[in-house]
Every structure is written in C-alpha cells, then in structure tokens.
Amino acid sequence: MADQVLDKKEHSHHTGAPLIEPGHSYGSVTDKISSIVLTRKTPVAWFLGFSVAFLLLMVFLGSTAYLLMKGTGIWGLNVPVGWGFAIINFVWWIGIGHAGTLISAILLLLRQEWRTSINRFAEAMTLFAVAAAGMFPLLHMGRPWLFYWLMPYPNTMALWPQFRSPLVWDVFAVSTYATVSLLFWYVGLVPDFATLRDRTKNRWAQISYGILSMGWRGSAIHWHRYETAYLLLAGLATPLVISVHTVVSFDFAMGIIPGWHATIFPPYFVAGAIYAGFAMVLTLSIPLRKIYGLEDFITMRHLKNMAKVMLATGLIVAYGYMIEGFTAWYSGAEYEEFMILNRLTGPYKYVFWSLILCNVAVPQLIWFSKIQNSVVALFVVAMFVNVGMWLERFVIVVTSLHRDFLPSSWDMYSGTIWDWATYIGTIGLFLTLMFLFLRIMPAISIFEMRTLVTDDKKSKAE
C-alpha cells in the first residue's frame, strides 16, 4: 500500500494547499478515522463538551416542561410583536442546516473534491439543526401534540389547512428537507458502518453496526447501486438547498408588513442561510480537527474554501440590506421609509448596527490572505457571523412589527428568561446530538477519503 502514497496533491493550483496531507494510504486513512470511534481513548475534551451540552439540554427540558404547564404566555410576545424568539430561532437554525446540504449535494454535482472530508459532519449538522429548528414552531403551537393538524388529511372537523399560507408550505418544505437530509446522510454512512462492523472487537458494537450497514459487503454491484443512489439523492437534495429557505422567506415576504414584503427576500434569505451554515461548519470543524488531530484531513485548503464561500454569500446578504434600504426610500411609500428609519435610528438601532458590524464589516477581513491563513482568525470571524445572522433575524422580525401602522399599538419587545432558556436549550440539543455523533459514528467519510488517496489521475489534474 505504501506505493499508493501520493504527494502530487501538493501541486494543487489556486491555494497550493493539499486536500489530504501527503503520506496517507488506504490503511492509514481507515485507521485514523475509525480509531476515533473504536479504539482511541475518548478525549477529556469530549467529556467536558458533552457535559456542558447535556446540561444545556436539561435547560431545554426544563423550560419546555414549564412552557407546557403555563403556555406561551411565559414568552415575551405581545400584541404588535406576535412573532418573537420562536421564529427568529427557527430561521436561524434552519439556515445553519443549509451548508450541510450545499456541501453534500451541490458541491458533489460540481465535482468539488474538497467537500469530501467535511461533508459527513456537515450533513449531521444539518440534521441536528433541523431538529432544533423544528422545536420552535412545535412549541409555539401551544399544544404541540396536535401538530398533525398542520397536515392536510380528511378529518371529522372538516377542516383543511390554508393552502395559500406560506406557513403551510413551510410544513411541507421542512419535512421534505428533514427526510431527504436524513436519507442522504444515512446512505452515505452505510459503507462506513460496514467498515466499523468489520473492525470492532466488541460484540454489541458488531451487532449494532451490522444492522446499520444493512448487509453491505462491498461487492461491485453494491458499489454500483450505491453510486447511482447517492447521485440521485444529490440531485433531489439540490433544489432543497434553495427551496427551503425560499419558503421561509415567503413566510415574511408574502405578507404586506413593511420590512418583510420585499421581492429580494428569497435569494437574500438563501444566501444568508448558506452564509450562516458555512460559519457554523467552520465553528465546528476548527475545534474538531484540533481535538482529534485531523489536520491531515481537514486542511487549510478546506478552511480557506469555506471562508471564501462565506465571504461570497455574505456579500449577497450585504447587497440585500443595501437594496432594501435604497428601495425603502425610492419607493416613496411612507411606511417603508418609516420602517427603515426606525431600523437605523429607532430603539433597536444598536441591534441593527451590531448586525452590520457582524455580518457586513467583520467578514471583509477574509479578503486578506493573512486572515485566510489563520485558523484562529477564521474561527473568530465565523463566530461573528453566527451572532450576526441571529441578530439579522431579530432585526427583521422585531423592528418590522413593534411599530406597526397604528402608533397607539406600538410596543417594545424583548425575550424573557424563558425565551432565552429555550433558545440556549436548543443549542444544548444540537451539541448533545453532535457529541454523540462524534463518539459513535465516523465523522469523516472513510471510503471517500480513500478515493482521494488513490485517485492518481485526478490528483495530477488537481
């Protein structure tokens, strides 16, 4: 196997950095990734992180229990602001999920090989983010156990959902998204489950991985069908990257609230989702590669490419802010003008300007190659974007609602302790799932990394 080792990746143009560090073979790739799950001692950092995440999950449990006892009155919602943290957090989480789908589906179809080492955990991130997002509309319903009323089905109440409401489209969009993402992720895992099944010494693990790998033997026919299925799923998932956040943007834009009703919303929301998603992938992958020593697989080239995607989508988002501001004035409609002035100079101006700082100003640092080459700087920029994208949704939701058409009904809005507890609690849910995933599943696709080692011809072309 040693002669399989290739260092030609070093010639890769553009960045000059390789996708996989030289010196790896079939065996070493498999060993390194599977050992995280099977043989290596679980690092202290994992236990530490998991404990914190689990604690936060308990916060979620507690706040949800209290919510179900008391009702949504414990949240900070009031009459002009009928949509607060619940929709802000829903959009924030759904947006974060988008990078996973983009990396796994679109970059696959575009033959971008650099996706290979980050796609697995980015897809996991998508799933967990969608799970966290789903909590908010469910809980906001007040009676979550009746969630199936959202589905159109013949019922004794003779009621159908309002099909003209984008909120109903959301039900379909998000549930399709969750289903396809889960399938895509699972299908990609099957060959790796088989590797783990064959390598583990633990009887219980053998049985579990054996069931999960669905009888995978790695025969040529298996691979052939696998490749076809994976490509088809990628094709299915591709429109979802755009459709889900488009429908989310429709939740706002279909109404006639100034600040929500803007035709730019669909592309600008999609760009914002990918922006937030890549920021989160960077946030997760930077500590991950450090703690598990995966710098060989998640190289500087990956981090740089993700940063560049972040910069590009961030610029589209900035374009959206600018065009919205200009058009509010250009429209000559007094409510539009008031809305934008209220955003810029009203009681929430600090939130707005922090958002501009986080989403527009700070990410411009990525233009400098010094920043691109610094892991710490990239992590800091990504954190700014994570915060900025939350602030963006806060600004869109709250500043558009809190001063509506009738000054006598104006009011201020802020989240209560329970709003914050639920929000932070979903971060706990997300992180707990992420830590469990890291512990029991291969966080990097083993067999796809092997193709990077062997693909002599392609690596020359790189």
Partner: protein, 390 residues
C-alpha cells in the same frame, strides 16, 4: 494566428453583411424617427437594452470563468472577450437616449413631476443630471474591468508570463461584485424607472441573470460554429458542451426563480403601488406574450436541457441556445414595451428595425474583435490543466 486565416474570409463576409444590415436598418430608423420620434426612442431603448446585455453579460461570465478556470470557460474566453470589447461602441450608442429622455421617462417631464408628489420625492435620484452622472460612472467601472481583463489576457499571449493568470483569477471576484452592483442600479435607472412609481428589490437580479444567460447562449452558438476547426477542435470535447449546457440550465433556472419570486410576492401582497405593473402585463394581449415567455423561456428549454444527450450534441445545444436568445428578446419586450402602450399588446415596425440597426453594428464590431486575437489563450498555464481534466 494561422488558424484564424482559414476562417477569415467567412468572418469578413459576416462582418460585411452585418454592417450592411446595420446601415440599412439605421436608414429605416431615421425615417421612423422623423415620422414618430417617440416610437423611435422607445424601440431604440428596447433594442439597446438587449444588445448591451451581450457586452455586460460577458463581463459577468468572464469573471466567473477566471475564478473557476474550467475547460468550458477557456473554450469561450476569447468569444467573451470580443463581446466585452464592444463596450465602447455600446457607450457611444447610449447617447441617442439623451435626446429622447422626455419621450422615454415620464420623470424627466417637469410638467408631470409638478403634479406628482411621489415623483417629487424621487427627483433627488430620478433627475436627468444625476441619471447621466450615474450612467457615466457605470460605464467607467465596466470599462475598467473589461480593459484589465482583456489587456492581461493579451499581454499573456505576447509574453507568456504566467503571473497574468494569477491577476486574472484575482480580478474575477471583484469583477462580478462590481458588475452586479452597478448593473442593478443601471437596471433601476434604465428599465425600472420607465414606470417610476413601481419598484421591486429583485429587479437587479432579473437583469443580471438575463444578461448572463443571453451572453452564455450567444457564446455557445459561436463556439459551436468554431468547434470543428483549429485550434478549438484540438481541445474541445463533448464534456465541455455538457458543462456549458449545464451552466445554461442553471442560468435558466435561476432566471425563472427570481421571476417567480418577484411575481409571487407582488401578486400575494396585491398592493396598489406594486400590482399595477403586473396587471398591465397580464391583460390586453400582453398575457399571451407572458405565457409564451414562461413556456419557451423556461419550461421547454429546461426540459430539453435536462437531457444529457441534448447537451452533448453540439448542434442541438446551439439550437436551444438560439431559441433562448430569441426568448431573451421577447422577455425584454414584455418588460419594456408595455410601459409605452396603454391599450394592450402592440408592435411597431421600429421595434424590429431598431434592434436590427444596433445589432448590425454590434455583430460587425464583435466579429472585427474576434478576428484580432488567437481563438484560445496561448500561454495560460491553467488552460492545459483545465483541458486535461477529462
């Protein structure tokens, strides 16, 4: 250059024919302008907005190409560069609009503005002086990027210096960024303000994608004609047409996406300041043109381009591209012309002749530029890499 000698006679013939058509159509325009100046300016603006799409769309696709440097991009790079070098001609051809401002833009008529509060509010932006300052600025930005990209590419042909590739790659991002920014405002100024009460934040994207799609379709047609001759025949493969077809499919889908978004949001809001724009275009015969655009600008080419076979057969792909170009023209007509026609669908003979006049000169300028340089970049190190990717 020897490769070019072989096709030069044909190119010369196209150039002469185009010039002839341009000159004849210009005569027609002059006659029309004397008879009906307002109609002349309206048709002229429509034709102008179509043809400048080729000069500017090429800036967009060149920028994209320099960022990703794929084989498909090198195959059409010289075609795009030639398109982009028609910008000075297009700047010159923008001047007639100056004389027709009052015929075209009601915000330029003081007597209308005096009675319209909203137009008074907008006059800080929509006034003739600022309009022309902005236009000059837009052309300056476009000219700057186009000159840089063309010059570096030529310098590399001459000197073989590989560092120009790096420069070209670096300018791609800013090129695209500034193109989208300036073109958005240019589309607000030149097209959206034809109905000065109407506004749509996505309108810039509608224009940007239209121009990119138009240029790509045009480049596909030209490269299909050149593909079986030297030097392209030596490097170009079915795979590259497949890539170009996929890119066209992507642009068609995105074009449809932004248009559907705009329509759905405005239709659903049904606000008095927005909906009239669509209401006017959905009655009096315009609706049939609209339905035609939906079918033949999106549904049919989308379905055809899903097929791998259609994308890999050069002649079929070129035919689809030809249809896309015609649909671009009709789509623009649907956007522009209803502003001037209050009583439903109508077409003046100048609506055909004015685009022909501009187009004749444009095609002649394009062919003249195409002849001037090798059909493939000679020394770009990325080129060999891109074509060996197979």
């Amino acid at each position: 250059m020897n490769d070019l000698e072989a096709i030069k006679p044909q190119l010369n013939k196209i150039q002469r024919t185009a010039l002839g058509v341009g000159a004849l159509a210009t005569l027609g325009c002059l006659v029309g302008a004397f008879g009906n100046p307002a109609q002349f300016y309206q048709s002229y603006l429509f034709g102008y907005l179509f043809w400048i799409g080729l000069a500017l769309g090429s800036l967009a696709i060149m920028s994209l190409h320099h960022m990703v440097a794929g084989g498909w991009g090198f195959a059409i790079q010289r075609i795009l560069e030639s398109c982009s070098r028609t910008l000075p001609l297009m700047a010159l051809l923008f001047l007639p609009v100056f004389f027709g401002m009052k015929e075209l833009y009601i915000w330029a008529r003081p007597e209308v503005v005096a009675e319209d509060l909203i137009l008074q509010h907008k006059s800080a932006y929509l006034n003739q002086t600022f309009f022309w300052i902005r236009a000059a600025f837009f052309f300056l930005v476009w000219f700057g990027f186009i000159t840089a990209m063309n010059r570096w590419s030529l310098e590399q042909d001459k000197t073989g210096n590989a560092s120009f590739s790096d420069k070209l790659r670096k300018i791609g991002g800013p090129g695209l960024l500034f193109y989208i920014l300036t073109m958005s405002f240019a589309s607000f100024d030149w097209a959206m303000s034809l109905d000065p009460h109407w506004f749509s934040t996505i309108f810039g994207f509608v224009f940007v994608l239209g121009q990119a799609l138009l240029t790509l379709a045009f480049a596909i047609i030209v490269v299909a004609k050149l593909a079986d001759r030297k030097p392209l025949v030596e490097v170009i493969a079915k795979k590259h047409f497949h890539d170009l077809g996929n890119l066209m499919l992507a642009f068609i889908s995105l074009w449809a996406y932004v248009n559907v978004s705009q329509f759905l949001i405005i239709w659903s809001g049904n606000l008095p300041e927005e909906i009239p724009w669509y209401l006017h275009r959905m009655q009096g015969g315009w609706e049939w043109l609209g339905v035609g655009v939906v079918l033949f600008h999106f549904v049919v080419p989308f379905a055809l381009l899903l097929s791998r076979r259609n994308k890999r057969r050069v002649q079929i792909l070129a035919r689809i591209a030809g249809a896309v170009i015609i649909m671009r023209l009709l789509d623009l007509f649907w956007i522009v012309a209803p502003n001037f026609r209050e009583h439903g669908l109508g077409m003046h003979w100048l609506d055909l002749v004015a685009p022909l006049a501009i187009g004749g000169f444009w095609v002649a300028a394009f062919v003249w530029q195409l002849k001037g340089r090798a059909l493939l970049p000679l020394h770009d190190p990325r080129l060999k890499e891109a074509f060996s990717h197979e």
